[in-house]
């Protein structure tokens, strides 16, 4: 059975189409793998029974010759996507036992293509975190362990349940969302591929909002090709999301072919940051060499406002979050505190008890930066910086087609290692937030192991809506890196 679950999405798709395996067989294998992997805590809600029902339906369609792009392929869904009839938590206590009466557009697209839902994966509460330790449903354990170590590591965040599920072969692929790096960083520290598409490529309808101008759904997969396949189905213009963009969704899988001869790859000099381990910079240099060897042209570029990206992000994102999360007030749905005196008491107790510490911290920051007298000093200036950061990229892309950078400043770290210092935790996003601020597509590709045997990723950044070129460059990195490592399945024994 382990052969089944270690297949890539593309391999499984082809096997199903060739009728070598049924969706039920495949889905059954994942359902039992998920049960065995409970120590990882990757799922908040397992939906094994429903998955098998969906698999049977897919098998029937296959028998009838109606084969969707993802027919019968079992996927894991980050528990930030609303799924009709299946509890959706955003990993927060405040949503209580909220069961959405509607389906997010991205997941609907997946089911319309025949995919099977295995369950809802764990995440940082409301996607706020870089280690999946802020979840109200407990932290997720990274399937990877350092060489000769039994110490539990974090799977990255916020899409930590999805990254762990993909790395541990608990699904063929998973959905994630990325507001400041929440797809790419967890993919990097679990040795898998994570793609954040251009803002507006995937609909945000039905995705629990964190920071509306930054949030974007994307795939987390075993390979670049799988990411191309997933994106093709996830992406769509949507009348229900005014910020989704009506640009044709091409066949990314087909566009992977052709190589990168003549591709101009920019190396932003500002991404050489003090305190980043030498092995990260070495990997980055190696990545550039791989691309050069395949015919790319390497150019140095400058993104001068990079140093303002983190502060800008930590004003814009909390500001929007403070407003987006105002609807969780104990009045209409979700958690409501008991024994309250009046409406103010109801708000204070419900929100005080329902939100975790990190979410409360960000709501406070966001409320503060939007307050009268502080708006101009913070929010307004952050918006100006955001424009400058965007312009940095526009100017860089006059000289190159994609950018190459590290994804994270280091490999996976130990559970609890950074929880006492929020600022150190925020540094996890130092290479990824700029991409969200500029609304560009970015992808993390596993590129090697750290000295202590943990995966490291390289990030490629593309032009808006040019995911095709981005994926082709990513495939070149993947091919050269030839990353074949998988974590030992210590949890199954």
């Amino acid at each position: 059975m382990s052969d089944l679950i270690s297949m890539t999405l593309a391999e499984a798709r082809d096997a199903i189409r060739a009728k070598k395996i049924s969706s039920r067989e495949l889905t059954g294998a994942f359902v039992s793998a998920i049960e065995k992997a409970r120590p990882l805590n990757a799922f908040i809600t397992e939906a094994g029974e429903q998955a098998l029902t969906m698999a049977d339906a897919a098998d029937k369609r296959i028998a009838a010759g109606q084969i969707g792009a993802l027919e019968g392929l079992p996927l894991a869904i980050k528990d930030l996507f609303c799924t009709k009839g299946v509890r959706t938590t955003a990993a927060s206590k405040i949503l209580g036992n909220f069961v959405p009466p509607y389906e997010s557009t991205v997941t609907q697209n997946l089911w319309d293509a025949g995919a099977v839902m295995l369950g809802k994966t764990n995440l940082d509460e409301f996607a706020m975190g870089s280690s999946n330790e802020t979840s109200a449903f407990g932290n997720v354990i990274n399937p990877w362990r350092a060489k000769n170590s039994n110490v539990n590591l974090v799977p990255g965040g916020s899409s930590g349940g999805s990254s762990a599920a993909v790395a541990a072969d608990l699904c063929l692929a998973a959905t994630g969302t990325d507001t400041g790096g929440s797809i790419r960083q967890p993919a990097a520290v679990t040795g898998r591929v994570g793609l954040k598409p251009t803002y507006g490529r995937c609909s945000r309808f039905g995705v629990v909002a964190f920071a509306s101008s930054l949030d974007q759904a994307g795939p987390m997969t075993k390979t670049v090709k799988d990411a191309a396949i997933m994106l093709k189905t996830m992406a769509s213009v949507d009348a229900k999301d005014s910020t989704s963009v009506d640009i044709e969704v091409p066949d990314y899988e087909k566009l992977l072919e052709g190589g990168i001869k003549g591709l101009r790859v920019g190396i932003p000099k500002e991404y050489r940051i003090d305190g980043v381990p030498a092995e990260i910079n070495a990997l980055w240099t190696r990545g550039a060499e791989w691309l050069k060897a395949q015919g790319a042209e390497i150019v140095e570029v400058s993104l001068p406002h990079t140093k303002y990206a983190l502060p800008t992000y930590y004003i814009v994102a909390p500001a929007e979050a403070s407003s987006n999360l105002a609807r969780y007030d104990g009045v209409k749905f979700g958690y409501r505190a008991e024994g309250v005196r009046d409406i103010t008491d109801l708000y204070e107790k419900s929100r005080g008890q329902g939100f975790g510490a990190e979410v409360q911290r960000r709501i406070l920051i966001g409320t503060y930066v939007l307050s009268a007298g502080y708006y101009d000093a913070y929010y307004s200036r952050a918006q100006k910086l955001r424009t400058l950061i965007k312009r940095d990229f526009e100017q860089a892309f006059e000289k190159c087609d994609v950018l190459l950078t590290p994804t994270t400043p280091g490999p996976a770290f130990g559970v609890g290692a950074k929880t006492s210092d929020p600022l150190e935790m925020y540094l996890q996003d130092v290479f990824t937030v700029t991409v969200n601020l500029a609304g560009l597509p970015g992808i993390s590709v596993p590129a090697g192991l750290s000295e202590n045997g943990l995966p490291l990723g390289l990030q490629l950044i593309g032009k808006a809506f040019d995911e095709a070129t981005l994926l082709r460059a990513a495939l070149a990195v993947e091919t050269a890196a030839d990353f074949k490592h998988s974590p030992a399945k210590w949890w199954s024994v």
Binding site: Y102, A209, S212, D241, S322, R327, D329, K332
Partner: protein
Amino acid sequence: MNAPIKNKLLKGETSEWEIVIGMEVHAQILSQSKLFSGASTTFGAEPNNNVSFIDAGFPGMLPVINEKCVEQAVRTGLGLKAKINLRSLFDRKNYFYPDLPQGYQISQYKDPIVGEGEVLIDLKDGESIKVGIERLHLEQDAGKSLHDQHPDHSFVDLNRSGIALMEIVTKPHMRTSEEAAAFLKKLRAIVRYLGTCDGNMDEGSMRADVNVSVCRVGGYDEFRKTGSFKTLGTRCEIKNVNSMRFIAQAVEYEARRQIEVIEGGGTIAQETRLYDSKLGETRSMRSKEEAHDYRYFPDPDLLPLEFEQSWVDAIAKTLPELPDEKKARFVKGGLSPYDASVLVAERELADYYEELAKGVDAKAAANWLNNEILGRLNRDGLSITDVPVSAAANNAIIQMISDQTISGKIAKDLLDIVWTEGGDPRQVVEARGMKQVTDTGAIDAAIEAVIAANPDKVEEVKAKPKLSAWFVGQVMKQTGGKANPVAVNAALKTRLNLPDEG
């Protein structure tokens, strides 16, 4: 244009004061569905029946702008002769309240869809003044909290949540409670003509917040000259005044209150006040210090609202004739400005009048409408939309008066008949023999009969020609009221040899 301010001053204990009034009017847009959702806007539905997941603030829901509402706002802007902004922005106004499910109201803060415009208002003494419009913006309505349904629970009805409102903000250009009421009346007429708001104040489709301040005589002129608010007093905002009458009362009360405070050596604190229509007074709701910090910021779920000038031009072409233009046309057609302004106040009334006046004297038609039709409607507690006799039928009656088919008196009887019994006026006149007798033979015969019966009166009238009126009355009686009084008069004069001035 602006008359002497003398009659606009309010006398305090120690001196005279000027009142300065500005208004913020919330007008509910006429549309099938809400501003950002497909839910219905029908009034009076069962609580929480017209609610989509968007209106209820469910997780992952996103607003999508309703183009019809945008069109209605532009239409209104054009009706207010205002600048239409081809690019505007939606902002979030953040505050917590149970009937605000998202925890914020989507509104337009810095960049509204409509900029400066003006409204001309007509006052009773024939004076017209211009009230400047500062802006018009689009925003969502909130739901309704119900506190009187249960001893210790409050309920929330979200039917109104998300309904599209236009907030129309005036400049502080009104000076008396009469002007304030006249402004709202005119604004209501304009949006009703445009079909952008039903103006129904009872159902809350139109609500006004009134800003009132008082200043020393001359302060207002100084403000108009310099644009500086320094010469105006501190204003208080009176919330949600929901009838024309209450507006006048609230302004009057509030101005007197402020004058009393200032003359007593106090100062006016900027605050929000509530008008209590039962007690006829305003009272403090919250001070400036207690005011909410709404933390406005651009709504990241919505793109800037952009459209082409050509789209605006196309809407402009569909605008109906508005009250001011209609009034001008009526005046040109022979009505007094006052009569014309009364008729154009309601589009239905003006439409009725136009049909009524087809091919007859304008003044006669207006008088007939004012005296006969409106009088009867008033008596029966009906409005112009339920008048039982069509304009065409009334037009026929007026024609019959003017071509002397019937007398004015008979005309009123005729209207009473068709008012209650229905029927075509011309047929009723025929069937009931109500035609005026102009046949001199018949009149002469009646005169001879009256003379023969009253020889003594003949002598009296010769001495006192004014008594001929008695003869006219007798002849009318003889003919059953159908004789043409003019013809009777003329025939009598000849027969009795009376002087012309008699």
